[in-house]
Symmetry: C2
Subunit: 183 residues, 2 copies
Amino acid sequence: MAVDRSHVLTAAAALLARRPTSSMDEIARAAGIGRATLHRHFAGRDALIRALEELGIEQLTRALDAARLDEDDAPAALRRLVAETEQVAGVLAFLFTENQLFEGAEINEGWARLDARIHALFRRGQEEGDFRIDLGAAWLTEALYGLVGAGAWAVHDGRVARNDFTHSIAELLLGGARRSMEK
Amino acid sequence: MAVDRSHVLTAAAALLARRPTSSMDEIARAAGIGRATLHRHFAGRDALIRALEELGIEQLTRALDAARLDEDDAPAALRRLVAETEQVAGVLAFLFTENQLFEGAEINEGWARLDARIHALFRRGQEEGDFRIDLGAAWLTEALYGLVGAGAWAVHDGRVARNDFTHSIAELLLGGARRSMEK
DNA sequence: CCTGAATGAGACAATCACGTCTCATTCGGC
DNA sequence: GCCGAATGAGACGTGATTGTCTCATTCAGG
């Protein structure tokens, strides 16, 4: 009986990522619930978006914790991060593209913290000599978001197999498209 | 006096990419024109989006032509492609994220053609031994879109210098983040 | 300088989405 | 089987957006 809040938000993210102008009614239908029920759980569209943001922060935080970014070398940590990110990809893709939230008011504290942690991972990789230094850590962080989003949509649209999600992103991000002699 | 159609569309793309729910009035203000004038040039929101799509196809077609994808080896062609893509990045980023257009009706013929050309480039690189084959050409195509979009926003938000746009994307896409021994 | 086209601002009705409400129904717990 | 809570469907008023219109102003070209 009780509506699965997380499920509703996931469905909303998937829909809004592709059709941002969807009405509350469309969002409700996509989540398989009635419009009235949607309003019972989220006061309005703004509240829904904010809940989406909080869910993303919460999930990504868990993913970062699970990835243990400080252990092993940076490439290995990045692989773990990408693997953990898979479950968050849908919500993350939405939040990455629709960051209207962040521009208006104060940048969400939680996001800044998460951003810093990923940024630190790339920086560590550069300092330890595993990552190239001609690509800024800030750009690598953005690129990670972009690739996760692209990967999520590619899987959703059937252009990439779900099982290839982690491999496709991590390998491209680490080694690029060029065929390498080593390894 | 005459409104610069291309300028209006570019401004609209930049706004809609970040705030997809913007009203026609906001779009008009962002383009520096009145709402009435916007309606004179584009019958409605749908017509505006469609014009945006056509502009993107037209510009990307030109970019692909200028990049001469069939010449030299695939990596060199890809570098040229990324460089040419820079000017299209804004519109492209919008169309990539808001592809609600493509799902409903018949996939736009023009987009399928462009997609095929980029896809063919990656495939050629794989066949000639320059690109790794464990990453599908379809995924590399999607990744290119994602990185161009991420790059456009990173530049727009000041996280990446405009002059680094091409280098950041092309190098990451080709060589990845890992520091390489060769080259 | 003159003329006509194009623009910006605003008014206007119509449409749409929103948020709230009611009511019958369904589901879960006891 | 009963009861209460939650849900779905729909109605309703409200506010915002849309698309069209008018009118004064501005601009470009002759």
